[in-house]
Chain length 331, copies 2
Amino acid sequence: MTTAVGLPSAVLSAHTLLVPALHRWTARLGGHLSTTCGYQLGLCTADGAPTGTVGGKLIRPVFTLLCAAATGADPAGVVPAAVAVELLHNASLVHDDIMDGDRERRHRPTLWARFGVPAAILAGDALIALAFEALATSAPVADVAHLATTLRLLARGQEDDLRFERLARVGVAESTDMIVGKTGVLLGAACRLGVTRPDWQPRFEAFGTHLGVAFQLADDLLGIWGDPAVTGKPAGADLRAHKQSAPVVAALAADVPAARELARLYATPLSEADVARASALVEEAGGRAATEAEAARRLDLAWSHLEDLDLDPTAHTHLRTLATSVVDRDH
Amino acid sequence: MTTAVGLPSAVLSAHTLLVPALHRWTARLGGHLSTTCGYQLGLCTADGAPTGTVGGKLIRPVFTLLCAAATGADPAGVVPAAVAVELLHNASLVHDDIMDGDRERRHRPTLWARFGVPAAILAGDALIALAFEALATSAPVADVAHLATTLRLLARGQEDDLRFERLARVGVAESTDMIVGKTGVLLGAACRLGVTRPDWQPRFEAFGTHLGVAFQLADDLLGIWGDPAVTGKPAGADLRAHKQSAPVVAALAADVPAARELARLYATPLSEADVARASALVEEAGGRAATEAEAARRLDLAWSHLEDLDLDPTAHTHLRTLATSVVDRDH
């Protein structure tokens, strides 16, 4: 079942466990909420017809299952925890899309764009409820407390993100804190909740948190230099939206002429030519290199936390392949 | 310390336990979220200055403490559970206010009206996170699972409420289900979570659920016949908003001429004279009497679930006074 790369079969068998569980949990909602939440997860169309698949790549819950396997546990035992993480992730996507005014996700209208803001607020709340229900009916209460802390930190990270949009300049440290809050803590929780040994939980959490940061930095790099044909977004999308993404923050923090020109450019609406120029300036001021270096550093740091643990070799290989693929990717 | 009525001192001593705990938990959020969540709870002004008090009457968490006392337990032990219930209640108020477009609550602008929709969505999420954190760090995991189910049912109740607004006619049974979901389950949880004996928990939950329904029916009666000077709302406020509140639903279900005239009237925008006429028609069609009778029945039903339990007499008296006061009130 394991291919040369090891990844597809591991992810595929994880999906075999996860997708039916996601179906079961959203069905529990009943009424229109099963449809709106199912639509968000890609389990059904806007009319409620089953798609026979799922929307995202389920990266976070796959990590939960792989971490369980790495510690020698049966991944089937942590399916509720994996489901909880995926539901919480989707809840934050649903609410963030409203706040950010984003109208499209995964090539479909976002939940609020399709069903309206009230339905989307409610669907997010319902997904949070299901996440806690899934976890609390299967895991120790300390794990549930950890998921609650995770949700609190996600809210804090999103608040920082919204605040940064109104600032001309964001500090590198502040920006990193925000990335930890928005992406790190959730992947940290995904990895931690796959592990039952209390002494190993903090190490898997640290592993996942650093990996999540690396993942977000890779995303930020794609937001500027990603191939439009692969990412599905226009080149320089994040620049056009004046986002304070990691490469921009790093570039603006540099004391070089390119940084000053970038700051002047970023203070005004950008034409297509300006976007190309801004992209070149971010690179010239060192923003791209600094972000690539930090992503690589975070990936190393992630692994340092698992270094001396006696892990299942097959699961360890899958984990390593998956971790590398989420950081070193083109979409 | 106990007055003749017994209520004020019991509620007052409950507040002494609850208010500092609410302060502590919202402070944990940090940043702007401490302010927005503190504002919602009435702990601080919009600028973050402490008000030295709290916004609502804390009815739900007071029930949690009184139920603990009734079973002979120390109320101090269930403060985190009481806080969790109050935080979850406020989370649902914050999100419902956005969905309903309500701009004022407790004589102040609602959170979204004051800070914008994104800040209000986030504050609601943060309050949910805190609620689960408070409970999961102090109670058995089964209690946390119950809180999660409560949040799921709250979302379902609010969905029904939003859907009913678009319908010309709502069935009495459907309307009751919605009231159970929106108000019953949360007071049910408030009472259940105050009790540690597993065999008594379902009985206190049933007590609180029926009481919550009675509470909502009383609210619906005030929404039509409440004294504007006392409620702070114009007379017939719910009729003017074409709400499908319990008296209206009961009146429209009757097979009498007044019901048919009411249905015709409710299909159009209402002038001041129409509001007065609608109010008279709801009463003539039996909507007021039916709702009053149902509220009384629910109050009796609530007590029937605690009937044969050996409860602390003082706490029992406080509980009875408080239960009666929330149903038989003028504001």
